[in-house]
Amino acid sequence: MPSLGADMESGILIEWLVKPGDRVHRGDIVAVVETDKGAIEIEIFEDAIVAELLVAPDTEVAVGTPLARLDKVGGQPVIAAAPTPAATRTPPAQPVQVTTPVRPAPVQPTALQPVKAPPVQRPAPAPVQPAAEMRRKISPAARKHAREYGVDLDRVVGTGDGGVVTVADVEQWRGVAAAAAPAPIPPRAARPTAPETTAMRRAIAAAMSRSKREIPHYYLAHTIDLEPALRWLEGRNAARPIEQRLVYGALLLKAVARAATQVPALNGYWRDGAFVGSDTVDVGVVISLRGGGLAAPALHDVTGMDIDVLMTALKDATERARRGRLKSSELTSATITVSSLGDTGVEAVYAVIHPPQVAIVGFGAVVSRPWVVDDGLHIRRVITATLAADHRASDGHEGARFLAALARHLSNPEAL
């Protein structure tokens, strides 16, 4: 069945004009085929003898289907030129690399005179851009979103390609999970083996890698005797109803705030090449979300905060973090962060600073250790506190003073 056009897939053989045994010559009309355009006569391109008719009249067959078997005049079979995939058929769709036409070399440009009609200055060279301020790539949608929710775009890390800040990044920075309600955490068994790369995960990844890329961390660790604080706490809790009970974490936060007030170089931001201090200590509390990921809402001006008020604020922030109800300002205003992984049993935490902050304090598990007190050996419950700080903003000396102050505050809890 010959192809008579690119858009012809098949044809209906209507009539044979030859029969087996007939002698045919090149150019003879041997059959009639019905196509969309009407009946078309089919010619033979060989001199041969018709051996066998393979397709009966009124049968539709695809283009290329053999219609008859021919024998050469001398008796051997004739192989008719069956439609083979032609080179002219569109080659398999390779990607077309089209080079833009090389712009023909312009005629030697002469000095372009201004036109007089209305007053026109001579075209001055374009004003030179002030120090090529690397304008951050932020999508218009992200700008609009940030303005609506009062997000300081400088804080938002872009996760688009080339570091572009997208709406998702702003959403993420606001702590609101990409979907309005927190996505239902799939039951543990059904949780996908490889953690699904949620927008949050990308945001954390971007922030952490930016931190490691840009911030020269230095690390200090200090083991602190927590016995006095814990005993004070247990006494206090025993005398109050459960609703007013404190957890030792609250004491740690208060102590950090107090110490940070004494070592201001650890409390603030590194922005545009300089340290920007903060007159309040707003402590970011790292809360791990059971579905994966974390949030670090800030408790505002903790230094002077009453311990019970601090406890309530901490309880409330934890609950809202779990439910994804944190306000954007909470997520963006911490001046120093605390990461406490004591419940997991880990003894020491060397954390990664959350840019643009300049310090992060880590607390490990409370463990009982042999401890020398007034040259007597005792069993004491102790905790390892670590400091990771930005060496652009502070030096080891100040970091050490901070940890020492922290230990002092924890040794007289009643003053917290």
Partner: protein
């Protein structure tokens, strides 16, 4: 420095070309005895004779096709189509022959023809005589499309075009012929590939060409009074577009208003806006704005025509809105 009209500058350019190169000749309706419908070729017949200043019958397809054929035959014809409105009768010759022959023949035949035509509205000639269709031609690979606005370009673009081995279409806005301006002594061929910043600025970029250039410059002067510094760019070439100069300006001012007498839909202004979106997306502080003719057949009545075609005050108000917006 001599003060001459745009028309005079173009005539001198044609005259200089005819004197310099025997292959050059001018062909078009009433270019000879009548002196040209816009009087551009007045006096050339007497100086160069009927062989080289050829009046044609009203057969746009034939004489434009003949110009293309003569270019194939080794001449350097300047074909004058009275206005872009009549060029529609020669579209087949321009698009299917002039623009296509070189590529389709595998590089064997190039077509060094120059086709000039008047364009634009504003003279109460009503719909059939007021088109601005240069954008159509800028759509076709194989053509070069330029729009001289200044006196120097009116004088300098033709010699450059005659040097090109490919078809060059020159669009002269009909309202510019009477404009007077300075032509520096010794002015020569001007570049066909570059746009030019006619007025540097800071707060927004006005991208325009041809007849709209001077409205834009006037608008920029008004805007300067209330502290808005508009950078005015004369595109000069619609194909190829000078992306480099356009994006350079956009990255500095971050706000763009394109002024074009063509209609908006499927226009050169739409193409430029798309390129800015593709190449300078993150430099934008506001969506690209466009001020074009109203999407209506251009009406006869003066007040209607004026309302249909971009005017200085429209440019000023569009610019003010643009500067106020931020996204």
């Amino acid at each position: 420095m001599t003060t001459i009209t745009y028309r005079e500058a173009m005539r001198q350019a044609i005259r200089a070309a005819l004197q310099r190169d025997p292959r050059v000749f001018l062909m078009g309706e009433d270019v000879g005895r009548y002196g040209g419908s816009f009087a551009v070729s007045k006096g050339l017949l007497a100086e160069f004779g009927e062989e080289r200043i050829r009046d044609t019958p009203l057969s746009e397809s034939a004489f434009v096709g003949a110009g293309i054929g003569a270019a194939l035959g080794g001449m350097r014809p300047i074909v004058e189509i009275m206005t872009v409105n009549f060029s529609l009768l020669a579209l087949d010759q321009i698009v299917n022959n002039a623009a296509t022959l070189c590529h389709m023949s595998g590089g064997q035949f190039n077509v060094p023809v120059v086709i000039r035509m008047a364009t634009g509205g504003g003279r109460q000639l009503a719909a059939q005589h007021s088109h601005s269709l240069e954008g159509w031609y800028a759509h076709v690979p194989g053509l070069r499309v330029v729009a001289p606005a200044t006196i120097e370009d009116a004088f300098g673009m033709l010699p450059s075009a005659l040097e090109k081995p490919d078809p060059v279409l020159i669009f002269e806005h009909a309202l510019l012929y009477n404009m007077k301006g300075e032509l520096p002594d010794g002015a020569g061929p001007t570049d066909l590939d570059r746009a030019v910043i006619r007025r540097p600025g800071r707060d927004l970029t006005l991208l325009t060409y041809g007849g709209s250039l001077f409205k834009s410059l006037e608008a920029a002067a008004t805007l300067a009074n209330d502290g808005i510094e508009a950078e005015v760019i004369d595109l000069r070439t619609l194909r190829p577009l000078d992306d480099e100069t356009i994006m350079g300006s956009v990255s500095r001012t971050r706000r763009v208003l394109i002024v074009d007498e063509g209609w908006k839909s499927g226009s050169i202004s739409a193409e430029i806006s798309a390129r800015i979106m593709e190449q300078a997306f993150y430099d934008l502080d506001a969506p690209v704005a466009r001020l074009c003719s109203a999407e209506v057949p251009i009406p006869y009545a003066a007040h209607l025509e004026r309302a249909a075609i971009p005017q200085v005050e429209n440019i000023v108000s569009y610019a003010r809105q643009l500067v106020a917006r931020n996204v």
